[in-house]
């Protein structure tokens, strides 16, 4: 392409850039802001749960009359917070951070490519993400508030909900389009732009996880796109795809003609949303694998079984969706099928986790901040995975369905699981992006506080769920059971607020470290993978000379080598 060599303006270099590194940073900053916003929504919810009906301190007086009454939260606002917390965290926080930010920044570097295969498509996918995000956010200012039917948006409740739901659907359509474009880009990039010598089984595990994730996004998102279009039609054109015949609301017939099925929405939604769970966790696993291999100074144990497990996991994730629907009146044949597939899909997760754990045996383990987060990921994800077991079986699910046990379960997977993996990634690759190291004492403070309070939030939820407290209750104390375990709720809330405070060291660290004078070394972690083959931070075009790969991704502590790491891009004397 013959574009001018003139210095690019601010807009072209930072806003409408096609450089994958800039786009990766844009994704990262946006996603972190959304995560922080989602955290704020959660803190308000936790106030209502711990002190039902009491005025929210400080901000209670600032919110409008449609949201609070004398500073105390209204049920409509609570439901909006619940729905938007889930949506923002999943679709606008973790996925853009894990795939958009880490994927964009690291993937081309780790495979030795000059950029993504389609740089302009990459920019378009970021823009679609921003538009979707803004549509979602703007719904908070609508008369009826933001979407309030849960992040699952079950029909018919969502079809008859306020305008916020329409914005939710339009926002989702943009976010889905963004993910689809991104997925195409990642797959082509990983298949076509690998450096010379970088065969598939020399790919770092992180690249594998991104490849599988991209396939999940590519093939699972379209059904949700369809579902969103159907629901938009139901809302705007009064069709009845999700509206059965004979609906009566408050004594009056509902406007919809009928003939549809509320379960159709659930099927289409979970057909996406179960693979989506793996979209949330797989990139996290990839990052953890990188960090553990690097800091245990030995090759990952069982790299190939891990890759095969990953592929199998991706494939199986498409045939377990209905285990979210055991309690919808499904027949025993269907539930038997889905119980079996659910048990099968747990095996590859166990294999991956076991391989990561065994990798520690015989290692020489260093404990920098990213390694702390990566190590904490293992037991935390373990708890999340194990508690999935009773939920995957229909009979115990008859007790646990839609209780706090479910909330505790999936938060253990995504919060101390994925988010810890994301922190590990941030601490690990921060020097690559900025050329500076993050402050270690602040990082350790951040880790230990987060670790304690994460568990402080979610462990009580397990017990609340065990006791039988339902989720999504504006005020759980109206039930005898909810009142009996209210102490647990309060503990959870205080942990949540303290967790938010524990992020202050991280935020300070994140911004202060950027302005540090002292530069990081070119390869501060003595890592073997290709992103360290170029200067830090990498120049435009990434590599001055296209790198050539001579060995597998984790050649640490090779006997007879001059140092304890043998980078992929350096030919070893043999």
């Amino acid at each position: 392409m013959s574009e001018s060599h003139a210095k690019l303006g601010f807009l072209r270099s930072y806003v409408f850039s096609t450089d994958h590194k800039v786009i990766g940073i844009q994704y990262g900053i946006t996603a972190l802001l959304f995560l922080f916003f989602g955290l704020c929504l959660m803190m308000m919810m936790r106030w209502q749960l711990a002190y039902p009906g009491e005025a929210i301190p400080i901000i209670g007086g600032l919110l409008g009359e449609t949201l609070v009454d004398d500073g105390a939260m209204l049920p409509s606002f609570y439901n909006s917070l619940g729905a938007m917390h889930g949506t923002i965290m999943v679709f606008m926080g973790i996925v853009p951070l894990a795939v958009g930010a880490f994927g964009n920044y690291i993937v081309p570097l780790q495979i030795g490519a000059p950029d993504m295969a389609f740089p302009r498509l990459n920019m378009a996918s970021y823009q679609a993400f921003v538009i979707g995000g803004l549509v979602m956010l703007s719904s908070f200012f609508l008369p009826g508030g933001a979407a309030s039917s849960g992040w699952t948006s079950y029909a018919p409740l969502s079809v008859t909900a306020t305008t916020g739901q329409t914005f939710w659907l339009i926002g989702m359509i943009f976010l889905i389009a963004s993910s689809l474009l991104g997925a195409i880009n990642f797959i082509v990039t990983i298949i076509h732009l690998r450096a010379e010598g970088l065969t598939f089984f020399r790919l770092p595990f992180f690249i594998w996880s991104q490849l599988v994730t991209a396939f999940l996004l590519l093939l699972a998102f379209p059904p949700l796109q369809v579902a969103a279009i159907f629901q938009l039609m139901d809302r705007l054109a009064d069709t009845s795809f999700f509206m059965p015949t004979g609906l009566v609301s408050g004594g009056d017939p509902v406007a919809a003609v009928g003939g549809g099925s509320p379960l159709l929405w659930q099927h289409l939604f979970w057909f996406l949303a179960h693979p989506e769970v793996y979209v949330l966790i797989l990139p996290g696993m990839g990052i953890v694998a990188e960090v553990i291999a690097n800091n245990s100074r030995k090759p990952l144990w069982g790299y190939r079984p891990m890759v095969y497990s990953l592929l199998f996991l991706g494939f199986m994730s498409f045939c377990v969706w209905a285990h979210h629907m055991y309690m919808t009146g499904m027949g025993t044949t269907m539930s038997t099928f889905f119980q079996i597939t659910t048990m099968i899909i747990s095996i590859p997760s166990v294999i991956i986790l076991t391989c990561l754990v065994i990798s520690l045996w015989g290692a020489s383990i260093r404990f920098p901040v990213p390694m702390l987060f990566a190590l904490a990921f293992l037991p935390m994800f373990g708890i999340g995975g194990l508690t999935g077991l009773p939920l995957g079986l229909a009979a115990p699910d008859a007790h646990f369905h839609d209780t706090y046990y479910v909330i505790g379960h999936f938060h253990y997977v995504v919060a101390p699981g994925t988010i810890f993996a994301m922190f590990a990634g941030i601490y690990h690759w921060y020097p690559k992006v900025t050329g500076r190291q993050m402050n270690v004492p602040l990082g350790k403070l951040h880790f230990w506080l987060s670790f304690v309070f994460m568990n402080g939030i979610f462990m009580p939820m397990m017990f609340e769920g065990m006791a039988g407290v339902s989720r999504r209750l504006f005020d759980p104390t109206v039930y005898e059971i909810g009142a009996a375990v209210h102490g647990l709720t309060t503990m959870s809330s205080w942990s949540a607020w303290l967790l938010a405070l524990s992020q202050i060291p991280f935020i300070i660290n994140f911004f202060m470290s950027m302005r540090k004078k002292e530069r990081a070394e070119e390869n501060p972690w003595q890592a073997t993978t290709l992103e360290w083959a170029t200067s830090t931070p990498p120049p435009h075009g990434n590599f001055v000379e296209p790198p050539v790969v001579y060995s597998g991704p984790y050649e640490y502590s090779v006997p007879g080598a001059s140092s304890d790491f043998s980078p992929q891009f350096i030919k070893q004397e043999s």
Binding site: P262, I365, L393
Partner: protein, 253 residues
Amino acid sequence: MNDPQYGWWLPPDVSVHGADIDFMINAIHWFMLALFIFWGGFIVYCLIRFRARPGHVAIYRDIEAKWNRWLEIGVAVAETVVLVVFAMPVWAKIKDDLPLAPEQDAMVVRVVAEQFKWLFHYPGRDGTFGKTGPEFYADDNPAGLDFDDEAGWDDITVRGFHFPVDRPVIARLTAKDVIHSFKIPVMRITQDVVPGMEITIWFQAKETGRFQVGCAQLCGLGHYEMKANLVIESKEDFQKWLDEEHEALGLDE
């Protein structure tokens, strides 16, 4: 009247089928705990024994670990056992073995869910439900009864749920507006109530007591308040309650 003790673990169980579920939940959690302690112990041991220190070098060659395969096979076997021996038969019994035979003497009740109330519809003395349909729903007719149908004249519709102990209950669940979920924690029951469908479940209590029915599926602004009182009583007390409700209909005057 007893005062159920709710705490950090499972709530009291007054249902006949609940023991199986509770056994599964407890067994799975012991299994989980064992696995977690094993994994956690292994990690901690590794972190201490293989920490980086001067003179310590990581082992490059593959560690020969056989036990991991045994662990994975063990997990798979345990899951298969739980699945085949417990999960599937228990669930099939709960779902499919409806006590329809006359000698089982099941009591049938319609449960109608709407924003944000439960309605319990008993067939009355004639043992037959009146004709119902969505077109008959009105403020003074929340059960949607067709008043032209004589079978419905003695039907009892109430907001609190009463049923007798030691007798199977068949509940036919319908929703008027959105998806609700019929949940009684002490009975180990959760069943989504989907508008446009009638879903049939059954259960049987083994103890009497006063509890609560709740809604477990987000159904709108008043979702959190959508509860009903539940009275499980002896057959005599239940009959007495039915008689009182029947008299309140005023049909005999």
